[in-house]
Amino acid sequence: MNITVTLIFQMIAFILLIWFVNKYLWTPVNAMLEDRQKRIADGLAAAEKGKHEQELAEKHAKETLKEAKTQAAEVLAQAEKRASIVVEESKEKAQVEGDRIKASAQSEIDQEVSRAREQLRGQVAEIAVAGASKVLGREIDNKSHDKLMKDLIKQI
């Protein structure tokens, strides 16, 4: 049970083991753990940042959407207004155009009527003259009876 030279061997082994454990176990494991710790912290920070950024982006998107909505509403209102104006305008135009067409048609009709009447009158006079000449048995000289003819035409 006494202390022997074994002690020296044990001390050598102990010192060697400390050196070895330090070099090949402690240092790499500790470095790895520190690296992992750092990476986890970095990752968490990045996640936090990402979350923040996402929130910002969401806010931004919401704002953009709202803006777009207002703009769209504005555009829509404007378009409606414009459309009603256009409709109004075209209505008026149509009215005017219609009136014009009606008027021109009316005048054409009038013209046609008077022309027809004129023609008719001439033809009636001719027919009358022809009838009369047949009745009288002789030709009525157009020239000598010109005045009479004209009076007749007028009477018709």
Binding site: T6, Q10, N22
Partner: protein
Amino acid sequence: MAEAASGGGTVQYIQHHLTNLCAGQCDPITHKATGFWALHLDTIFFSYALAALIMVVSWRLGRSLVSDTPSGFQNFVETIVDFVAQQVRDTFPGHNPLIAPLALTIFVWVWLMNAMDLIPVDLLPVLANSIFGIEYLKAVPTTDLSATFAMALVVFALIVYYNIKIKGPVGYLKMFLFHPFGKFFVPVNIVMSIIEEIAKPLSLGLRLFGNLFAGELVFLLIALIGGTMFVTAGLLGGMFWGGLQVLLDLGWLIFHLLVITLQAFIFMVLTIVYLGMAHVEDH
């Protein structure tokens, strides 16, 4: 070793199991070391083998560390490393990169050497005897004072080294002169301080040795129950005592699992505390 346990052989059995494999200055009859120049080959063999095991495992693990997806064994080692690092952070003031690996080495090595205790007491001696013809074998290195004091002395050397390094030679001397009772009790202080300093390695070495030696002794006594009683109590009684031996052995084994861990832990923590005290500028 049932034949050795019969009758008056119990003392011989225990004596035999507590004798190291000695080479050099050894008593030819009792096989005990008679002087300093005696080698305890079994202590050296088992402690070196366990140290080599630590080296191989740590070398292999250290080369294949995975940061992102650690596997089972790496997790286990990480837990131990983290545990030791936490102890050092909690109890060690200041910063010294040597303390944590030192504490880790102590914890793992002492635990493994203590764990030799958990191997059935007769197994290794019987194997060594029947295969290699080795007469004596004490498998637990920490039941050898040389092994425990070797560690205690290395720790003591570090304590003295860091005391001188941190406090300076004069500061260290002042600690002996003026501590703990101030400048009017210098002779008392010197005696007290020397006792205090010597007590550190002494308590470290003796505590570990004592606990493990006693534990081993109890294992031997439990191992004796079945064999001894088998001879005297006949077949049926022998079976009863054999059963009792198994039961007691299991109980002591489970308890000892705690003891060996606790002793390794205490050795480690005290080392950290003593070295921490050496790093404090002023008491």
